[in-house]
Amino acid sequence: MAIEQDVLVIGGGLAGVTAAVSAARTGADVRLVSYKQPTLRHASGLIDVLGYTPDGEGPLVDPVAALDDLPEGHPYERVGEDAVRAGLALFDDLAGDTYEGNHTERNALVPTQGGRVKPTARYPASTAAGLASDERDALLVGFERLVGFDAPLSAAQLNAAGAPFEARGATVEFPVELSADPKVTRFAHLLDRDEAGEESQDGSVRRALAERVTTHLDGEARVGFPAVLGDDHPEDVRAALETHLGVDVFEVPMGPPSLPGFRLEDRLYDALDAAGVRIETGNPVVGYETDGRDDDLIEAVTVDRNGATVPYAAEQFVLATGGLVGKGIDSDREGVAEPIFDCHVTHPPDRYDWFEDDAFGDHRFARFGVAPDRELRPRDARGTVEFDNLRAAGAVLGNYDFAAEKSGSGVSLATGHEAGRLAGDDT
């Protein structure tokens, strides 16, 4: 049986999901195929739109106001301000009350695990009470066996950064006996279940944790934990801790692996289901077929299912396979390529020109990706559209350094929404 769709989206990260939902909302019949886990599982869960300009100016208070000055070819320049707003609006709709920040166009400054603050546009509800512009004093609490978040050190960094409140840090032993080296998900699941089921701990894990933290509280109005407060029931965990502690509780983003990322992924996949998108994960798209007459039109992509190659036909295709991390962009010693359609990826011929010597320099590799026209269709080296019915979205696009700009999720949302909408409209 041939698999046939109006729109086929390749890649199940933030960009692919957004594209699939927005295509489905045009009435199209949509399928999404994704190989491995999306980058969301590594990412902090914050939804950045633009925190710094490509020249490093910032932190920006108003990300949208800065869009106009972006260089030609930047994904935001390609799709324009309306698409950025539309992408965010779609995200707000999908995320519902699990995210905040849409009450203003201004960026928020969120304390990071190392105690620096980072500008972002949307943040998980679990992080809301932690904003650095909030003037209430904060107690940060770390766990002895959870490395990467040293609460006293983070607090010292926040104070040194001039945050308008006093931060203090304390490190406590988690109230359940743990192995020397527990995974972050272990903390989350113990708090979800709220019972250790072991002799060492009777009753509520949440209450026991709160009791350990209370002794450290010294008038602070809010308490921050590393982002491990539950996987399946984060609201319950946080509410219980707030009740027991009598103050607001927030999470400091962590990762990888990132529980806020896991939670967002779950939420988005539920939304995909609800939108009627067919989802298939675990098999890679390995190539494509044209009908032989028109090389500019893709007839089907081929999926590798345990060694057998199966064609998936569709009218429109969206490439949302991610960048170097998601493996939508690949490289070897000789060059850089987009592996499925071999779309052109501009890169210096000598691999020693792909990076800078300074670890945080202006790395060329961070901007590797395909270069689309204003309808997000990838173009070849001469600037001609590669295929009439292929659009690209998210980190597979080039010409922006999401890490330096703090624009990763914003670009995936704006271009995902736009690519999905255009693909759906064209069917």
């Binding site: 590594h42 990412a43 902090s44 950045d48 710094y52 490093g56 208070v61 920040g101 009450h103 203003t104 201004r106 960026n107 928020a108 400054l109 990071t112 695990q113 190392g114 620096r116 603050v117 980072k118 809301a128 650095a132 512009s133 003037e135 002895e144 066996r145 959870l146 490395v147 978040f149 040293d150 006293p152 960094q157 040194a160 001039g162 945050a163 308008p164 020397a180 080296d181 962590m254 990762g255 990888p256 960048g323 170097l324 991390v325 690949d330 490289s331 010693r333 000598d350 691999r351 792909w354 990076f355 300074d358 670890a359 945080f360 590799f365 961070a366 999401f402 890490a403 703090k406 990763g408």
Partner: protein
Amino acid sequence: MGATPTVLVIGGGSTGCGIARDLAMRGLSVTLVEQGNLTHGTTGRMHGLLHSGGRYAVADQASARECIQETRVLEDIASHCVEETGGLFVKRPEDSEAYFERKLRGCAECGIPTEVLSGREARQREPYLAADVDKAIAVPDGAVDPFRLCVANAASAQNHGARIETHAEVTDLLVEAGEVVGAEVTHESGPGKRTHGKAGTTEEIEADHVINATGAWAGRIGDMAGLDVNVRPSKGVMTVMNVRQVDTVINRCIPKGNADIVVPHETTCILGTTDEEVEDPEDYPEAEWEVDLMIDELSKLLPVLQEARTIRSYWGVRPLYEPPGSGTADSEDITRDFFLLDHADRDGLPGLTTIVGGKFTTYRMMAEELSDHVCDRLGVSAACRTADVPLPGSRDERVLDDAMDEFGLTSPVARRSKQRLGDRAPDVLDTDDPNPVVCSCEGVTRAELQDAIAGSGTDLNAVRIRTRASMGNCQGGFCAHAMADELHPEYDAEQASAALDDLYQERWKGQRHALWGEQLSQAMLTYALHATTMNRDEGGIAADETVDFAAFDGGTPDGD
């Protein structure tokens, strides 16, 4: 003099640390100064081969004999730094049959045990060997951890009363009445452990005898006293793979050449090397073609290497010495032997001896010979004991297995810790505090890091070489910040942050040579984690601009 003779050793590589230990054990009062951290020079940038002598068995039999002898000694006194991997000299169809026979004979003449294997037998040992490898000679090559061994020598010297100063550069030699009487030393952050942000100081250290063990830098120390010490530094590249494709040292059985050896080292394999004369031991080109050559040439022995992932490359400079008047054109032809230059005899300047050249494998023998010489000069009669007394960490393997179970570590982590710490493991790991793994790639726990920090202050690169933390596949991406956290609260936030920046930059330096395929993905992930999740690329606390916090979103008006 009456009092204990004092000796100043310049250089904290294998040679200097070996000398410091030897002389301290003989009862002399020893100070060692090193401009960087221990192993900052060539010792920290070598290939990790414990030479059986097989490589020299044809061309330089004296060296070959020394190697097999010292390999046996190190297996005894430094068991926790040595892995007895064994080695193979493999012959490809196009390689000379006559040379294969000469290698075999040479080994026999030098007392190096050998076994000839057919191609099939060789592939049974190392399944990734190329299908057309004809045959191989098995020899007792090994792998050695230069960091651990060097630090163990320094620790032993300290236990015998020596003073070890790192981040202490000799900026001048003190010469009085035609005699070297000491050196002027600049401490980067004052004497004692490295501490970021602490002001530097200078100190004049006087000594009855000064030893120049600065390897490729020996000419510069010579210059300070107007002496001509002609060191010709020659660079070589080493490329680190992400996994251990082989468990045996693989040499190609050819007279000499570039890119002819693979050494298994901890969780990795290291490919090497090149031999190119350079002007400056600290500033030389690290070239792309060298990395390509390693992969392309060594793929002829191990075809998997062609597509395998490399995690970084690094270069070292050989401190090759040319006695005046030799005039050798090609650096590959300069002898690998070592030289002891008594400047009283050679230049009429007493109080200074230079030791240069040689190999890591024979460092102990070199140190012994030099120490004999210095003791002779100083009229001390004490015998060398370094071949018999085990180094710290290496005393008794057997007590360990039982002790390790007690520390609650999962078995792979416990095994790795034990390999690194040897018999110090019970002391280091015996803590009542929680002891999580901080570096997962290499299985390094908090207690081990704290032990290293106690020894080396805020210098996280020194912590790295002691523990291997941040040396695995992710090259510190997932753990560098957690390592810096370990500095707090003993050191403050600003110091922790500066220490992290230094470590992160050092890790980046080597990865630049491995940026394609998987490792480029890893590099992007690491960059994103540090720049995006942690915002470490944008002005930290030292930034002069202050942020207008009030201008940003402070949350929903009524909270949630």
